[in-house]
Subunit: 222 residues, 2 copies
């Protein structure tokens, strides 16, 4: 059965999932790249005190499996690119070059229509103007029996959480402070929305947790 | 030199340092006791995946050292007891019995005057009606060359943080969700206030971080 998942999504200890002042020079906001040190540079970045080889392996496994099992992706327009307003013929095809890591149909939420962009490796960007439910319907059709992954950014994940549409939420808490930026969870009571922690793993550079939402019938019975 | 410190203060992954509905039956709020599993029951509570003996030791050391080096404590009235309004002759001497763990002068912030209470083991509760600066002055005098520890609760620590009076902030992030409760950090940009992370340690039940605030002259130069 298709599940709607968020995977390997990094959050700072002060609750931010992107830094402030996002833009062309800082796609993840100021300091935002540090959120992902556990993912990118497990060898160069100083690990936490007490990190073992096994903890490095936990980070590496979470990174390696981040996209596994997902047959379609959804992302907000700001994750796709820095443009705002109607699309222009600027040749932009996303941040990721000719062969993006998604390797699957990827649906971009936007208010402005645009033809799909087919790239190498199986990624096709589809631009959806009908809102988050429409994008999810399209992504489910595209994913077949595989999962639909909500790739980000923060505002998009918050919309899907507030609509109770996410089944599995995997967060990686990086031991950094951002101070400012886009907070992920304020006003979203994950516990009341039926999420429980099903895994808590110690990485060398992050604390990884998996949350699973109870199906509605169990929530009613609880 | 006396430093003003917060030590072993537990926070949930969703940013709460106490659960909702605090009161006589739930001094830490609903679910709040789980915040402190790393402190209390390192053997009984399931550790995080990847926990080693060294990680258990990290938790134990943080617990053992939580009160070290502090010659006086400050706490909010709600941490001392569930009463509200003027003090009555109800015999309440705090949550901790005849020999509280503080073993030092402990200053309670309150709007209502009350005579000090001297207990076994060196703890004397002083009731301060002059506000957070007055309490800190009195605690500094009492601490001598040792540290002043802001023991809690959340509202008290927030007041001292917002007044830039805390030098060292040690937080223990427990891998739990509270959903609701008292959030510690919203609206407080620790980075802008000069805090940097000086230690990040992996425990079996918590991720422990130490933050140190730069002295003002360095902040100005930065």
């Amino acid at each position: 059965m298709t599940r709607v998942v968020v995977s390997a999504f990094s959050v700072s200890l002060d609750g931010f999932a992107a830094g402030p002042a996002q833009g062309p020079d800082h796609p993840l906001g100021l300091g935002g790249l540090d959120l992902h040190q556990w993912f990118f540079s497990q060898k160069n970045f100083p690990p936490m005190r007490g990190a073992t080889d096994a903890a490095h392996q936990v980070d590496a496994e979470h990174a390696a499996k981040a996209l596994d099992g997902s047959g379609a992706f959804i992302m907000g327009r700001h994750m796709f690119g820095p443009q705002r307003g109607p699309w222009t013929d600027d040749g932009w095809k996303g941040w990721w070059g000719p062969n993006p890591p998604w390797h699957a149909p990827t649906f971009i939420l936007t208010h402005h229509p645009r033809d799909p962009i087919r790239l190498e490796g199986g990624t096709t960007f589809h631009f959806v103007t009908g809102g988050i439910h429409d994008a999810l319907d399209q992504a489910r059709n595209a994913a077949g029996r595989r999962n639909v992954q909500i790739a980000g950014g923060v505002a998009t994940i918050r919309q899907y959480l507030l609509a109770d549409l996410i089944d599995d939420l995997q967060l990686s808490f990086s031991p950094i402070l951002l101070g400012q930026g886009e907070p992920l969870l304020p006003g979203i009571d994950l516990k009341a929305r039926g999420f429980t922690l099903t895994d808590r793993a110690i990485g060398a550079h992050a604390l990884h947790v998996t949350l699973r939402r109870r199906p509605p019938q169990e929530s009613v019975a609880a």
